[in-house]
Structures are given as C-alpha cells and as structure tokens.
C-alpha cells in the first residue's frame, strides 16, 4: 500500500519533470517574452510530489512499515524516534531521495526568484536542472528505489548501525546535501548563462546567494561530521583525510573559490569564463565524490552498501554530464579581456582561487591516486594523513598572509601604504608566537610559521574591524567573521596538533598507573541496561600531579542488540583549555583493559572557530548591503 503510493509519487515526479523539460524547451523557442504559467504550475506540482514522497518515507520509518525493504534493512521498532527519522537518510536509497528533494527545492526557489528578470536564462536553468533531476529520478526508481517491497512482510527490522545512532550524524547528511547537491543549481545556471548568452554581472548576482548558501551548509556539514568522528570513533582525532571526508572537502574548495571570484564578476565583470568553470566543476566534483563513495572503489571508514551497478550508473551519468558541459562551454567563444593591478582586491581574490585549486588538486589526486596505481600498475598504495599534511601545511602560510591583506584592499587599484601597521602586526605575531612557545615548550619550524601567519591574519582583521566599526556600516562583518574564524581555526589546530598528549596502557580494575605527571586509576566497572543496548561502564580517576586537578571519566563499551554490534564510547571532559579524552576496550582472554588517555588542548576553540567561519557565509546570505 505505502509502497504503491510511494511509487506513484515517484512516477508522477518523473512525468512532471519530463513535461517541465518539454514545455521549457518549447517556451525557449517561442518569441514570447512571458514565461508560460504552466511551467510555474508544473514546478509547483513537482515540488509537492517529491516532498510528499519524502514525507511518506519518513512516515514509513516512524511507523516501522517493514513492507519496505529500506525500512526493514535500516530500522527497528525499539529504536528511539529521532533515529527512526534519521534512518531515512542513513541509507543509500533514502539519502538519494533526499538528494532529489534538494535538487527540486533549489530548482523551484531559483525559478521563483529569477523568472521575472530574464526569461531565457531562467528557462534554460530550469531546463538543465530538470534534466539533472530526471537523471537522478531514473537512478532512484530503477536501481535504488526506497519504496521497494518485500514479501512476506517481516515482523521486525534489522536495525541501524549503532555507530550511526548519534545526533551529530543524524543532521550531518542533510547539511552536507544542502551544500553539495545545492551546487547543482549554479551548474544549471552556468549552462543556462552560456546557452542564453547572459550578461556576466547578471549571472553573478543571480548565483551569488546560492553559492553562499551551499558553501555555508557544506561547511556546517563538514564541521558536524568532524564532531561526530571525534566523539564517536573514539580515536581522538577529528579529521583523518579519509576518502569520504575528502569527497566532501573537494566541492568545498570549489565553493570557496567561487564565493570569492563571483564577487569579481559581479563588481568588475571580469573572470566570467573562470566563474563558469568553477560553477560547473563544483557540481561535477560533488557527483564524482558521490561516485567514489557509493561505488565502493575506495577503502574508507564509512561503508555505504556498495553495489557496482550503482557505481556504473553514477559514472555513466557523470561522464555524460562532463561531456555535455564541455561541449556547451567550448561553444562559448568569448574570451575575457582584462588586466589586473598587482595590488588590488581582484588580484588577491584570484590568489585565493589559486590556493584553493592547489588544495583541491592535492586532495583530489591524493584520493584517486590509489585507484590509478591499482589499475595501471597493480600495486596498492595508501595515501594518508602524512601525505596531505606535508604537502598542504607549508602552503597554508602564504595563504593566511594573503587572506589577511586581501579584504583591506580596494577594487581596481590601490597604492599600498599600510606598511607600518603590517610590520608592526607581523612583529607582534612573532612575539606572541614566542610567548606561546616559551609557555608551552616545543614545536617545530613549520608550526612556528603557521602560527605566526594565523596570528597575523587574526590581528590584522581585528585591527581593521575596529577601525571600520567606528566609521562604516557592518557590511564587512561576514568576511571579517569568516576570515578571523579561519585564522583562529588554523591557530588552534596547529596548537592542538603540537601539544596533544597520548597515553596507551593496559590496566586492570583497581589498578593505578602513573605516567609523567598523570595518575590513572581504574576504580570500578559496572554494567547497565539501557533502551536498546547494554553498557559496560568504566570508572576512571585521573589525577594530574603537576596541574593539580582530579577528574572522573566514564568510558563505555556498548553492546547493541539490533544489529548485534560492539561500540566503544569515549569519555570526554571538555573545558576552555583542553579536552580529556579516554577510551577503553577489552582485551580478549584477559582481565586487562586497553586504555587510551589523551589530553587534547583547545578542542572547544577549534569547533567554535569553525562555526564562526561558517557563520560568515550565512550572515552574508541574509545581510543586505
């Protein structure tokens, strides 16, 4: 019953999408200046149908309708309601439906905002976007149908992987999808701008807000994902350069570059070709990332249900998309003709793009290189954190410096006469760096330079903001927040990286171990029955003899019933200075427990700084000049 209704809604959506494509095409050919009312109605039907299908799936999960395969495989009656809902997008089929939903919603809103201004451009965007939507709808219904039936109807579901039952991970996919699936709209808009010979400035102002929205959500999605990894994986880190993480970072680099260069196009009508390229590759890189993650051709922490047929479909879709966007883009014969003054806002924005492309290239090549060596040389290699750190870290230094100076410059041309304060702030940064060093002991040369440059960025932005706040409006607030936030983020990441401490020991109940100035006492162990799992809770007492504090930490080993899984929950005590982080795991066939105790400085600040960076994008979206 539910399955039939769902299928009808999906088929209906396909029919509506087809008719939108047809009518949009007809409408473009007509000389009529007005956009046919039927397209507005159709778009409205489309969004109604697709959202209804999504709500229906949520309904099925909430009421545990196991006649649907997706519900049976990913849910369980004993699961808390929150995770029943999160289970909707915690699997391949449901997440793809969410994907299509976001494409349709963005399409609808973009159309609503733009159709009055430029007929041809809006219609072409609608046309291209709906071709994309059609592609994903066909994928959904042919190979990943969330409304697939099973008979006989099972009485109980298999449950959701407990490691995914976490509030951060529940909201992580929707945030991320709003980011990189949202980028489809400016892919379509870029195609449309070429097809309809749209003016560069108009194109820039119509996509700007969508770039900012997708950038902000992509950033938030990445942050929430990192927080989840930190809390849930129990390894003490928050970024592992895992292929799945990289797949979300690559579009983020594109979006960041685009969010900056679109300003140049809007203000100066420069870089039109480049902005078009960025708009196109953002969505292409999103789909490529999805291909890498879902096809299972990479080894990764996050295991989606892998299926070569899915990989094949996405890859064919991707190839077609690339092919047609190339053809359309190369049809455009207009070359941008412009020149830039070395010291101008344009040049510095371009240098942002330059660094972004470097980071993008590094992460992309690092992610796919193992596939290449395997296919071409039959050797399997790993490209892990040490590679990315050693390639990317040095290039962060000039990036931070440029990022500090760029926003202070004017458009077109400026005689730079702020050398006095520049030198002063540079020296101040060095002095603070020295103070941090002497206070916290050692770190290495590269860390020194990154800390100095991030301090430079923070101080320069602060100084400028204080001066500006006396005279001007708060229009620069968003970029101030994002840039300063990023500086703070880098600063604390490097400090955290250098001053984290880690102790690894095997310990029995009742024992006390002392390493350096830390005394770790394993007080006791108790077992508790909870809603859908049993917990073995350890009670540890940490005594720091030097700093003289005492803390209790309670890590858990959880035994989930459906499906039967063992998870290790870290115990974390957060304060302004540092996190105490402890995980324990049982050692088979012995009374000892393996305990990892970590002291991680400034974790809270890392999260706050990252949120501050993302908040700049959101603020800019809603702040009118």
């Amino acid at each position: 019953m539910l399955s039939n209704l769902g299928n009808i809604l999906l088929l209906g959506s396909i029919l509506i999408t087809l008719s939108i494509i047809y009518f949009a095409y007809q409408n473009i050919k007509e000389k009529n200046i007005l956009i046919g009312k039927n397209l507005v109605y159709l778009s409205f039907f489309q969004i109604t149908f697709i959202i209804s299908s999504f709500l229906l799936l949520i309904f099925a999960f909430v009421f545990s309708d196991f006649s649907l395969l997706a519900v049976y495989q990913n849910s369980h009656t004993a699961k808390p309601i929150f995770y029943k809902i999160a289970g909707v997008w915690g699997n391949h089929e449901g997440s793809l439906l969410l994907w299509v939903n976001i494409m349709v919603i963005f399409s609808f809103l973009f159309f609503l905002f733009n159709y009055k201004f430029n007929k041809n451009y809006s219609l072409n965007t609608l046309l291209v976007q709906n071709i994309l939507i059609l592609g994903f709808l066909i994928f959904l219904i042919s190979n990943s149908n969330p409304f697939f039936k099973i008979l006989p109807i099972p009485s109980e579901g298999l449950g959701l992987n407990p490691i995914l039952q976490d509030p951060a991970l529940a909201i992580h996919p929707p945030l991320l999808y709003l980011g990189f699936v949202g980028s489809s709209i400016y892919f379509s808009a870029a195609m449309a701008a070429i097809l309809s010979n749209s003016n560069g400035k108009n194109f820039a102002s119509s996509i700007k807000v969508w770039v900012l929205i997708s950038w902000s959500f992509q950033s938030l999605g990445i942050i929430v994902g990192s927080i989840w990894a930190y809390y849930e994986l129990g390894w003490g880190g928050f970024w592992f350069w895992d292929p799945v993480e990289n797949a979300s970072l690559i579009p983020w680099f594109c979006m960041t570059a685009l969010a900056h260069s679109v300003l140049v196009l809007e203000k100066r009508n420069y870089l039109y070709n480049w902005v078009l390229i960025l708009s196109i590759i953002t969505f292409i890189s999103s789909v490529t990332g999805t291909f890498l993650v879902r096809s299972g051709i990479l080894n990764s922490v996050h295991t989606f249900a892998n299926d070569p047929a899915r990989g094949m479909y996405i890859l064919i879709f991707l190839s077609l998309m690339i092919f047609f966007s190339f053809v359309i883009f190369f049809k455009r014969k207009i070359n941008d003709n412009f020149y830039l003054e070395p010291i101008s806002k344009e040049t510095f924005i371009l240098s942002n793009n330059w660094f972004m492309m470097f980071y993008l290239a590094t992460v992309f090549i690092g992610t796919i290189y193992p596939i290449f060596t395997q296919v071409l040389y039959d050797t399997k290699i790993s490209v892990g954190p040490p590679f990315y750190n050693s390639v990317i870290a040095p290039i962060i230094i000039p990036f931070l410096i440029m990022m500090a100076i760029g926003p202070r410059l004017n458009w077109i041309k400026q005689k730079y006469n702020d050398f006095k304060s520049l030198i002063f702030i540079l020296i101040l940064s060095c002095v603070i760096n020295f103070l941090i060093f002497s206070f916290l002991k050692s770190y290495n040369l590269l860390s020194n330079l990154i800390i100095i440059s991030s301090l430079f960025l923070i101080l320069y932005s602060l100084k400028d903001f204080i001066i500006n706040s006396k005279t001007k409006s708060y229009y620069n607030l968003p970029s101030f927040l994002s840039h300063t936030g990023f500086g703070v983020l880098m600063l604390f990441i490097i400090l955290n990286h250098n001053f984290s401490k880690e102790y690894d020991l095997n310990i029995k109940v009742g024992e006390t171990k002392k390493i350096d100035n830390i005394e770790i006492k394993f007080e006791d162990l108790k077992i508790e029955k909870r809603e859908n799992y049993n917990a073995i809770i350890g009670n540890f007492n940490i005594l720091d003899l030097k700093k003289n504090y005492r803390k209790n930490l309670n890590p858990e080993i959880r035994i989930y019933n459906n499906p039967q899984t063992l998870t290790f929950e870290s115990a974390i005590k957060t304060n302004l200075q540092q996190d105490l982080y402890l995980t324990m795991s049982n050692i088979d066939g012995s009374d000892f427990y393996n305990v990892k105790f970590q002291i991680k400085p400034f974790m809270l600040w890392i999260w706050l700084a990252a949120l501050l960076t993302a908040s700049g994008g959101l603020l800019r979206t809603f702040l009118k000049k």
Binding site: N299, L318, I368
Partner: protein, 174 residues
C-alpha cells in the same frame, strides 16, 4: 569548434580519469598479502611449543617442501582446516611447521591431543611478532615454501580440499 592546446589537455585528462574509473569498477578491491609470494623467507628464530630450543631458518632442509601453518586453539576456522592438515601430513615430500599464534601452551596442546598433531615441528609465537615475518594479518594462514626456501604460495583463511590438492600438485612437480 577551434582546437586549442588547453582544450586538448583538459579533455584528454578527463577522459583518462573516467576510463580509469570504469576499469576500477571491475577490479577486485579485497586486500591480499599475496605480494609476499616469490620472495625468499627471511631469517627467523622461533621457539618450539614444548621445549626451550629454537627453530631457525637454517633448520629448513633442502630436500623437502615446507608448509608453515599459523594457528591457535581459540580460532574456530583453524578447527575446520585441521583435518586437511592431517591428510597433508601423509605426504612425505612435505614437512609441516605449525606456528601456534598468541595462544596458551596448555590450550594448544589440548587442541592437538583432541584433533591430532599434523606438525613435524610445533613452534610457538606467543606475542604474534614472529608471524609478521610471514605477512600474517589474520589466522589461519598457511605458506608453502619450496626447496630453495622461496615462498611459492600463500593461503589466507582455512585450507580447503582444493587448496590441499594445489599444495600436493606443487609439491609433486618434478
């Protein structure tokens, strides 16, 4: 369409990447340590299970094949492959070396008493570090070594009837 240098470069790069992706879809991604096959055995010294002496690489004879089997009493698949090892024991061109992996001596001996002892040499690797020399990552694993002490085959997981046929075939070649 005008053909220009950047166009050609970018198109061929993208086509190349896509082709590699297509090829990669059909490759077996499972990890295997078969890379170790063809290499000569490193020098090793491993204690016997039941006495204090050590077995060295030099103790491998030049006239026989050796099958190194890594096992433990706590490992269920080891129990499954044991009958196969018992039949391989009958082949006199082959010596079987058992390395008892991260196990208790008592349990190991009980296991052998219960199911029979197929090993010509019974060695013990209490902390698992010696087995690293043979590229072990999960037991049971078995490694076949020829007369020149070269690794000629590696079996991950429990030996089955087909593996045992393969081993006998390799051992009886010429």
């Amino acid at each position: 369409m005008k053909i220009s240098f950047p166009k050609i470069i970018s198109i061929s790069l993208v086509v190349f990447v896509l082709i590699v992706f297509f090829l990669a879809l059909n490759i077996d991604k499972r990890y295997s340590t078969e890379k170790i096959v063809g290499k000569s055995v490193d020098d090793f010294e491993i204690k016997f299970l039941n006495n204090k002496e050590v077995f060295k690489k030099q103790d491998l004879t030049n006239d026989k094949y050796h099958l190194i089997n890594i096992w433990a009493s706590w490992c269920l698949p080891c129990r499954k492959e044991h009958p196969i090892l018992m039949t391989l024991k009958k082949e006199n061109k082959l010596k079987i070396i058992g390395i008892n992996f991260k196990d208790k001596k008592l349990n190991a001996n009980n296991f052998l008493r219960e199911l029979g002892n197929p090993y010509d040499f019974s060695l013990s690797d209490k902390d698992g570090t010696k087995s690293i020399l043979f590229g072990v990552y999960g037991i049971p694993e078995s490694i076949l070594i020829d007369k020149k002490h070269k690794i000629i085959s590696k079996f991950i997981g429990p030996l089955n009837v087909k593996d045992s046929k393969d081993i006998l075939q390799l051992v009886n070649e010429k």
